[in-house]
């Protein structure tokens, strides 16, 4: 059988295709986005229906309908996406499904690109669902098919939960033959699809029984196991996710018992066998102490006296990502074979630059922020932000994002701030994808409750932060077809916003005028800044800009006002790095000496 180099997310996608998935929905979010994209890329003949849904709640509900009809459905999102989809998910477990329904929910220990360090394994426990926790792309590939089968056997949705180190790591994955496809039987009307309190009670009973059954079944599942059964010592290690790989790497064959846990609910019988004869267990896992708590429970319930060491006892860090070193040190301290590290006497390295992520050179968001900043200079104003590339507008020198909470919150947080400080200008910045995801309800709230805010929509025609996915404003679908673009302007007008100001932010004069116009009004005003993300301009690049050193006075304004990564100071003159400039011309506009010129022959903008 062939081996293929696959990234964890690709492995999940190919695993789901292999298992005959018919409908794939999702909303982008790092580190989950490549799953759906890979399905779309491998959707030969368009046999699978694939969509980027407007948000995670919609994605899950579309998939639920398909699963009611007996089709296998996959829904993808990042961990915080599950918060948005939690309402349908909680009830869907009670209602159940007919075709297998697998939610891929990617957790992000660190976090590397997220606003929380929540643990989806806890969510599975709370929602009373089965969850599969792969420790590598190979396991993720196998578990995708297993998860569908499990979901169908129990008639419940299940979660496949990779973490960043699985999603974004590549491995040599053995490709298995396709599983025979079935034609979904179609939706059959029945009282089971309509949730009522009586049905909920009955199904709650069933779910509890099923969880007991799954505990038993998971003790025999191939991804839950322990090794080192013949090891002599009284110490054992339990691990899950990528931490298992870190433990394996630091353990000699059969050095001690090693329990690998890949499921919620917990495989009690297997773990009891593992605990037999042990006096101390170290648990290596990321995010919450889930495996640790289950072992403590098992010991308590069964009168076992083993000590369970981990996050609760200070043997493992409570927050952040585990590294091979953290795990190696904990394992060797636990096993009493700590290596003494001799300082290597290397000289102190020179001070290193910090590299916070920044808006790209040529990003239209920089122009929008700059226009607002200049136009309201001197007027007290609060800038509520939201989630997307434009969150990076919080950095110096722009400093235009005063709040950021979760997707869609900028518009509504601004309303609360406004209620407490009506004399101040309140701006809410929101991206186009975020607008469709969860911005619209906030605008309805503001209009109906007569709040004074200015909503600035930063429309760059894409979902940039997560890698340029389409959304309802783009006219592109994942089935390769075109769709009528939904106009943000028409939407806000239909919601009752009459003051709508539109400008291309790269035309700073017009943009500032639009801001001043909006600032002079009352009520809900919408500023529409429309200019495509530079990532969409490949092949349509604009002429670059360069400095005329004769004219440059070295005043540094172009650097200090904009924070563009392409503009820096070299020998007291401004310098534009040719490979980086995207030709937006914003710097030319702020240059008082008119020393910045377009290579295309254009003048100062």
């Amino acid at each position: 059988m062939a081996k293929k180099l696959l990234m964890g997310n690709e492995a999940i996608a190919l695993g789901a295709i292999r298992a005959g998935v018919r409908v794939v929905t999702g909303y982008p979010g790092t580190p989950s986005s490549e799953v759906l994209e890979t399905v779309a890329k491998n959707n030969s003949g368009g046999q699978i229906y694939v969509e980027w849904s407007v948000n995670e709640k919609a994605a899950l509900e579309v998939a639920a309908g398909a699963a009611y009809s007996g089709a296998r459905a996959l829904v993808t999102m990042k961990q915080v996406g599950l918060n948005v989809a939690s309402d349908p998910l909680m009830s869907l477990n009670y209602v159940g499904v007919k075709g297998g329904l697998v939610l891929v929910v990617a957790d992000d220990p660190g976090p590397i690109s997220s606003q929380t360090e929540q643990d989806t394994r806890r969510f599975a426990g709370f929602a009373k669902l089965a969850l599969f926790d792969p420790s590598s792309p190979e396991e993720a590939y196998e578990m995708a098919a297993y998860a569908f089968a499990h979901s169908e056997r129990y008639g419940r949705p299940v979660i496949l939960r990779p973490t960043t180190r699985v999603c974004h790591s590549c491995a040599s994955v053995e490709i298995s033959p396709e599983i025979a496809r079935r034609t979904p039987p179609g939706f059959e009307k029945s009282s089971r699809w309509t949730i009522f309190p009586k049905l909920v009670y009955e199904n709650h009973q069933k779910i509890e029984d099923e969880l007991v059954r799954a505990r038993v079944e998971f003790s025999n599942m191939s991804h839950n196991f322990y090794t080192g059964g013949n090891a002599a010592g009284k110490k054992g290690i339990a691990a899950g996710g990528v931490s298992y790989a870190y433990v394996r790497e630091n353990l000699k064959e059969d050095e001690c018992k090693l329990l690998k846990i890949s499921t919620v609910p917990f495989p009690d019988a297997l773990a009891l066998k593992f605990l037999d004869g042990l006096e101390e267990v170290l648990v290596a896992e990321e995010l919450d102490p889930v495996i640790e708590d289950e072992l403590v429970r098992l010991c308590g319930v069964n009168g076992i006296s083993a000590k369970i060491l981990g996050k609760r006892t200070g043997h493992m860090p409570r927050a952040g990502e585990n590294t091979p070193e953290i795990v190696a040190n904990a394992v060797s301290a636990f096993l009493g074979n700590a290596k003494t590290v001799s300082p290597d006497g290397a000289p102190e390295p020179p001070r290193l630059p910090v590299r916070p992520p920044v808006l790209c050179a040529g990003c239209p968001h920089r122009a929008s922020f700059h226009a607002v900043k200049e136009a309201v200079k001197g007027t007290p104003a609060v800038f509520s932000g939201d989630i997307g590339c434009y969150t990076l507008g919080n950095a110096q020198p722009l400093d235009m994002v005063d709040t950021c909470l979760c997707m869609g919150a900028g518009v509504t947080v601004a309303q609360g701030l406004q209620r407490m400080a009506p004399e101040v200008l309140h701006f809410a910045f929101i991206g186009d994808s975020t607008f469709f995801h969860s911005g619209i309800t906030g605008i309805v709230n503001a209009v109906y409750n007569q709040t004074d805010i200015i909503v600035a929509v930063l429309d760059n025609s894409t979902t940039a932060m997560t890698g340029s996915q389409p959304h309802p404003g783009t006219g592109v679908t994942m089935m390769g077809g075109q769709s009528e673009k939904i106009s943000i302007e028409k939407v806000v007008r239909a919601l009752g916003v009459s003051e709508v100001y539109k400008a291309d932010p790269l035309d700073q004069k017009a943009a500032k005028e639009a801001v001043r116009g909006a600032a002079a009004q009352k009520g809900v005003r919408v500023l529409l800044f429309e200019s495509p993300c530079i990532a969409l301009l490949r092949g349509k690049e604009k002429p670059k800009y360069k400095i005329n050193p004769e004219k440059c006075t070295g005043c540094t304004l172009c650097v200090k006002k904009l924070g563009c990564p392409a503009v820096s100071m070299e020998s007291r003159k401004a310098y534009i790095t040719p490979g980086l400039c995207a030709g937006c011309g914003l710097c030319a506009g702020v240059c008082p000496a008119k020393a910045i010129l377009s290579e295309g022959g254009g003048q100062n903008v």
Partner: protein, 193 residues
Amino acid sequence: MFNCMIAGVGGQGTVLASKLIAAAAMSRGFNARTAETIGMAQRGGSVVSHVRVGAEIFSPVIPLGGADLLIAFEPAEGVRQLKYLSKGGLMVVCENAVKPASGALGGNTYDAGEMLAYLRASVSNLITANGAELAGENIKTLNVALLGIAAGSGKFPFEAGAFEEALQQMINPRFLEMNIKAFEGGKNRWTIH
């Protein structure tokens, strides 16, 4: 097991370089595992790719001091990740600095020469390369050119031909010729200083 780390700044193409190594290794019968930085840091932050090649590999991440080869696309990132280089390991570093955008606002800048001097003092197997000479105007092929240097050093557990095949497979035909040129240029030009 052979461990290679690639260090750079978001946008320099570290992910492609690591995939090329993994694909080349697999074509020669090895297993491969990589770990990438994908997400927020790709917007100009520090990024690393871990590539591990061997028969049986558990962790996708290289332990500190475990890299046989460190390819740094930028001097300060080379210094930042030096802790991963094994004693006696080989480092290939591009001399040209990518200054942080905030640098010009004060404080947060650095001197590439100082970074390179530090590397010369601390790394016995060091190859430095001038990006402009390597990739010329075509800054996009810098990643492949640096990979060429590393391949030319003979450090990988397979021959450079495996990379040429990987390039054929993975690079968009429109850019293939220019990438092959960059790879060969790197491979033929540089020796250990």
